[in-house]
């Protein structure tokens, strides 16, 4: 093991996020990175890998099991503490906010661990942002679909033009202080309940 390189284990059931972390670690010059998606048999893996740092996502329901193993298991030859340093409250908060926790073997210097944790935090945050943007794009698409359907119902049942149908939806939304997509959804639901209006 070279002086700058640490052995790092990433435990994350989310494969995409895990590979983003892994790539970040490799970019930072850490070549000894192992990624585990499933905690089954992890004690054996830890015994083989002897990681200096273990990075786990907070959503992993097995954190209690893993922490207990770090403290007690014979598989873990060196005691593993949590986070960088208990005194570094800002780092701890940033990590929990980002949804990541890190465990390091006792005795490792803070300066060596800090960049790894910072990288993990920023990549976790980037992943959340990406997931959120994807979700927004998806719901935007859904909204557009439901508005199109609502417009179609109005055009058919009230003989409106497309622009007039949209204007009616928009006016109703403004009057009720709701989103156009919500009004459209209500209309589509109501039309569904009232029968074959929408059916071709």
């Amino acid at each position: 093991m070279s002086a700058g390189s640490l052995t790092i284990l990433v435990v994350d059931e989310n494969r995409i996020r895990a590979s983003i972390i892994e790539a970040g670690l490799r970019d930072a010059g850490h070549l000894e990175v192992t990624v585990v998606h499933d905690v089954a048999g992890i004690a054996k893996r830890i015994a083989e890998i002897e990681p200096d740092v273990i990075v786990i996502d907070l959503e992993n329901p097995n954190r209690d099991m893993l922490e207990n193993m770090f403290q007690l298991s014979r598989a873990v030859k060196r005691p593993i503490a949590m986070f960088v340093d208990r005194s570094d409250q800002a780092s701890i908060e940033a990590a929990v906010d980002a949804g990541v926790s890190a465990y390091v073997v006792d005795g490792l210097k803070k300066e060596r661990i800090k960049p790894i944790l910072d990288m993990a935090i920023s990549r976790f945050n980037a992943f959340s942002r990406m997931a959120r943007e994807l979700e927004e794009a998806r719901s935007e698409l859904e909204n557009r679909k439901v508005i199109d359907r609502a417009k179609g119902i109005l055009m058919k049942s009230r003989g409106l033009s497309e622009e007039a149908a949209y204007a009616l939806l928009r006016k109703t939304a403004m009057n009720q202080n709701r989103k156009i997509a919500d009004i459209a959804q209500s209309l589509v639901t109501a039309a569904g309940l009232l029968g074959p209006l929408e059916g071709e």
Binding site: N62, E67, A81
Partner: protein
């Protein structure tokens, strides 16, 4: 509508979060001027971390967990206090069908009797050891849990050394039944509905219950960040009153259906109402078609279930010492004693004029029958609270109790 207090509370998807969940969802918190924000979590470690850094003001916690936090036993330790207990009992010990077959061949019968089941398990364990088999593996939910301590207490009292003759591992509650079915573990101690889940799946047998190991014994609590409690005494008192009303509602048999339907929602327990009924009624399917009715199986309110007895905290402390989690020192003992706060419970509930225990601690295991106790005006019934092996825990004689504890 804007509320006087806003409180964020973490909880785990377990049935015994019911009092906290119902406080938020059935209007008890709102009536006390609290907007209670409930946040479901995936591990006790997350609850500990989020309370430590202030994401949560209060949380559903394992009874020994605030002690572990305050004693610095956990990675991210913070001072956490207990002003309210979420109930008594509620756990079972479940074993695989193979282990149960081995136990019945050695004298166990499906009657939940801890001594008889323990003797049969001990015989099975020793025969397996003689044959060179791998030790049986039992799971609990957390090292600092009532489950870990009561499983170990039971085994040790039956002559089984839980550190040497079996292996104790940690498994999250919702995974217990699957782990048992897959043969990764041979048995476990967990709260409901995760025992009934294994019985319903035909992959496990309930061999004994917490209510028979130590009747009316402590389980989950409300853990509160000490700093928050000191800065927000009015909010805390209002919360304790809301929890009190919620607990009374949860205990009432007339509300069982509504409570089970509430907990069945995916954002809470997320398990079918039917499988929650054993916890509510005490009528357990043990496996093999045998049904047993367990008195005081789980009490969310009765028998002063919400009172944070210092003797409960101190008993947990003696078990931490017993199993090598920390040394017994006057300092540690004092931290454990100060962690549970009956004074806060009492001062919050005093305006309600309800029955309150007069003492902060009691001798555990001394009440052989249900006993009315003198309290602030109204009547209150405690106990029975016996340990299955007849031991008594006197909180004034902690040193002697610790000295007398055997590892097996």
């Amino acid at each position: 509508m804007s509320m006087a207090h806003e409180i964020t509370a973490g909880f785990m998807p377990l049935f015994d979060s019911a009092v906290l969940v119902a406080a938020g969802e059935m209007g008890f918190a709102a009536r006390e001027g609290i907007e209670l924000k409930l946040q479901r979590e995936t591990s006790w470690a997350n609850i500990r971390d989020r309370i430590a850094i202030g994401h949560f003001d209060v949380a559903h916690m394992l009874g020994p967990m605030p002690l572990a936090c305050s004693l610095g036993l956990t990675p991210l330790a913070s001072e956490t206090i207990v002003p309210f207990s979420l109930g008594l009992g509620g756990n079972c010990v479940t074993v695989s069908n193979a282990v149960w077959d081995g136990m019945t061949a050695r004298g166990a019968s499906p009657d939940l009797d801890p001594a008889r089941a323990g003797a049969a398990l001990g015989a099975l364990i020793r025969e397996r050891a003689g044959a060179g088999s791998e030790p049986l593996r039992f799971a609990v939910v957390h090292p600092h849990s009532g489950h870990n301590y009561e499983l170990r207490y039971w085994l040790a009292a039956c002559g089984i050394d839980p550190d040497r003759e079996i292996e104790v591992v940690i498994v999250p509650p919702p995974f217990m039944a699957d782990a048992l079915a897959a043969g990764r573990i041979d048995g476990y101690c967990v709260g409901e509905p995760w025992n009934s889940a294994a019985v319903a799946a035909g992959t496990g047998q309930i061999v004994t219950v917490k209510a028979l190991l130590w009747r009316n014994s402590p389980e989950k609590v409300i853990g509160v960040r000490k700093v928050w409690a000191e800065e927000n005494p009015d909010a805390l008192a209002a919360l304790l009153r809301a929890l009190h009303h919620s607990a009374r509602w949860c205990q009432d048999p007339a509300n069982r259906g509504e409570l089970a339907a509430l907990m069945a929602r995916p954002d809470f327990l997320g398990q079918p109402a039917a499988i929650q009924m054993p916890a509510l009624t005490g009528r357990l399917q043990l496996g093999g078609g045998v049904e047993r009715n367990v008195e005081d199986f789980f009490l969310p309110f009765d028998k002063a279930a919400n009172f944070p007895w210092k003797s409960h905290a101190l008993w947990f402390y003696t078990q931490m010492v017993r199993w090598g989690q920390l040394p017994h020192t006057p300092q540690n003992l004092a931290i454990a004693r100060d962690c549970y706060r009956p004074d806060l419970y009492r001062s919050a509930l005093k305006p309600l004029g309800v029955a309150l225990p007069g003492a902060n601690a009691k001798v555990e295991g001394a009440l052989k029958t249900a006993t009315p106790v003198g309290s602030a005006g109204a009547s209150l019934v405690l106990g029975p609270d016996g340990f299955f092996d007849g031991q008594i825990f006197d909180p004034d004689r902690v040193d002697a109790y610790i000295a007398g504890q055997k590892r097996a």
